[in-house]
């Protein structure tokens, strides 16, 4: 069907396709690509402990200092918390633009998960501390 081309030329271009498809670089990324947990290993450990100490259906206010930018609050810190605390409602203490919502700290049903962040003044009752963070009751 395509035999009117020289077999050696067909073999050559076919070989380029096969070798090109077997480029080892992409598959090599499986082990190393996108592992932000490696940068802050204590953070997922903290969230795992928070998950063990909060019931399904609870609301958890998240206060973390990780700033803006590609690996910032609105991306890694928040969605990692949402993933590890699935089954609970996770709401950020501050919006991606940095606007703080202190009123979110003062709902009786809330937990506050603060990681490497001092909480605003108030008598927040700690439940547990570890891995650089504190889990507290929301209502002072």
């Amino acid at each position: 069907m395509y035999g009117n081309r020289r077999p050696w030329l067909a073999a050559l271009v076919f070989g380029v396709v096969v070798f090109g498809a077997l480029d080892p670089l992409p598959m090599g990324r499986i082990s190393s690509y996108a592992r932000p947990d490696w940068r802050v290993p204590a953070y997922p450990q903290f969230l795992t402990e928070v998950a063990a100490r909060t019931p399904p259906g609870a609301t958890v206010v998240l206060a973390v200092p990780i700033g803006d930018g590609e690996h910032g609050y609105d991306t890694y810190a928040f969605f990692r918390a949402t993933y590890l605390l699935a089954g609970r409602r996770v709401i950020p203490l501050m919006d991606p633009d940095g606007r703080v919502h202190p009123e979110r700290l003062h709902h009786r049903s809330n937990f506050i998960a603060a990681w490497r962040t001092p909480l605003p003044p108030g008598a927040f009752e700690p439940i547990w501390q570890g891995h650089g963070g504190t889990l507290s009751w929301g209502a002072p």
Partner: protein
């Protein structure tokens, strides 16, 4: 840890057993090979399982091991009864050769690399795995979560087929664990590789078919582990190949499942239809209607819950077109040698491209849809292209590698097997 691997294998078995009768029904007019049938069984079974979970959610039946197992069992019995009545059982030998061993080794290496650790891709945590975990904890599709603007980063409009595979595994494991879920990416790669091997085996001598399959496996075994690239590559590639071979109902269902895996699958249905229309096969284009039927429930639910998408209505902006094209040109593909090789094949066989016009036109239209999507994206254009263009190219690479293998392979050898060339137009 071992328990979650067991759960994954139980889920895999149920998926294949449920998908096999569907594969027999949709493949009944041709002679499938055992390998091809196995690949199709996984793909179609994954679709059936996701539909079952979706309908249980809509019916208000909580996902639990008992409810899900009973529903899958009932569906499997119904499908097997239908297959016994309407399908021809049996499959031909797969015709594998020792040259298929490198493909086996490559897929084994992929499984090994994936299985060494839990899934750790950003988009698994933020989109695909997140939805699976949230849905699993909720016991149903969590529409409140999807609709919550606080969680807009999880792309609420993305279809749920892959998260539902994760849910299916978690249901069997009795709890969520992402330790082994990456292997689902490998399963999709294996499935499409088996389907392609069957198609190449009909068009080429065994040793050339094996080498072509090796190239396809190199693309299908994606490093985007845990993300919907693997199912999109698998459903899209297998769907287009099925349409090429004239198996329109099978191809349409697979294309519909591609749309249940990624929004790009919706574009692929249209691209396939347009390709058929351009070839003068208008009736065949309309015969792709099962694709729309498969994805319709999700689209209806998405509209009902008003889940926002990634695109905005924009007026035509020539400067934006220039920016999109300029960024694409300066973003090299991940496997540059592969694309150089594909370009060489298409230049060398330029005079014969019409014979593979369906796959080439469908791929061309799909790439044009990608470019069009960048023109209306709500995100920063350069950012969007840089982070998605390599993945989108992977999505269309399987049919292109297939075409290259058929063209070059048939020119390399004199004794080409009985032709299973692209299906002729329906008169």
């Amino acid at each position: 840890m071992g328990g979650t691997l067991t759960a994954l294998l139980v889920a895999l078995t149920q998926i294949v057993v449920t998908g096999l009768p569907v594969a027999l029904l949709l493949h009944r007019r041709s002679a499938p090979t055992r390998g091809g049938l196995l690949g199709l069984s996984f793909l179609l079974g994954a679709g059936v399982v996701s539909m079952i979970l979706l309908f249980l959610s809509m019916a208000g039946v909580p996902w639990a091991r008992v409810t899900v197992t009973v529903a899958v069992l009932v569906m499997a019995v119904v499908l097997w009864v239908a297959a016994a009545k309407f399908a021809a059982f049996g499959a031909t030998p797969s015709g594998y050769t020792w040259l298929d061993l490198p493909t086996l080794a490559l897929l084994g290496m992929h499984a090994f690399l994936v299985a060494r650790q839990s899934v750790g891709e950003w988009d698994f945590w933020a989109i695909w795995g997140l939805k699976g975990r949230v849905f699993y904890e909720h016991g149903a599709i969590d529409w409140a979560f999807l609709s919550d603007p606080v969680h807009a980063y999880q792309h609420p409009d993305y279809p749920p087929l892959l998260p539902l595979q994760y849910v299916f595994t978690a249901v069997h494991g009795g709890g969520w664990s992402d330790r082994w879920l990456g292997l689902i990416t490998t399963f999709f790669a294996v499935a499409v590789t088996l389907v392609v091997r069957e198609a190449l085996g009909r068009a080429l001598p065994r040793w050339v078919a094996a080498l072509g399959t090796l190239a396809v496996a190199g693309v299908a075994a994606t490093h985007w582990v845990g993300m919907a690239e693997a199912p999109m590559i698998a459903f899209g590639g297998a769907g287009l190949l099925s349409v090429r071979e004239g198996k329109l109902p099978l191809g349409a269902v697979l294309l519909g499942l591609a749309a249940c895996a990624k929004n790009e699958g919706l574009a692929l249905i249209v691209a396939a239809g347009l390709a058929l229309v351009c070839m003068g096969r208008v009736r065949d284009a309309f015969r792709l209607w099962p694709a729309a039927l498969v994805v319709a429930p999700w689209l209806a639910l998405r509209a009902l819950h008003r889940l926002p998408g990634d695109f905005l209505m924009r007026s035509f902006d020539l400067e934006r077109v220039r920016l999109v094209l300029d960024t694409i040109v300066h973003k090299p593909p991940e496997r540059p040698l592969l694309w150089v090789g594909l370009a060489e094949v298409f230049v060398v066989f330029a005079g014969s491209l019409r014979r593979e016009s369906f796959l080439l036109l469908a791929t061309l239209f799909q790439v044009l849809f990608y470019v069009g999507a960048y023109l209306v994206t709500r995100y920063d254009v350069a950012w969007h292209i840089v982070y998605s263009w390599p993945r989108l190219l992977d999505q269309v690479a399987v049919p292109l590698v297939f075409v290259a293998a058929v063209m070059a392979g048939q020119a390399m050898v004199r004794n080409v097997p009985a032709d299973v060339s692209p299906a002729p137009p329906v008169k």
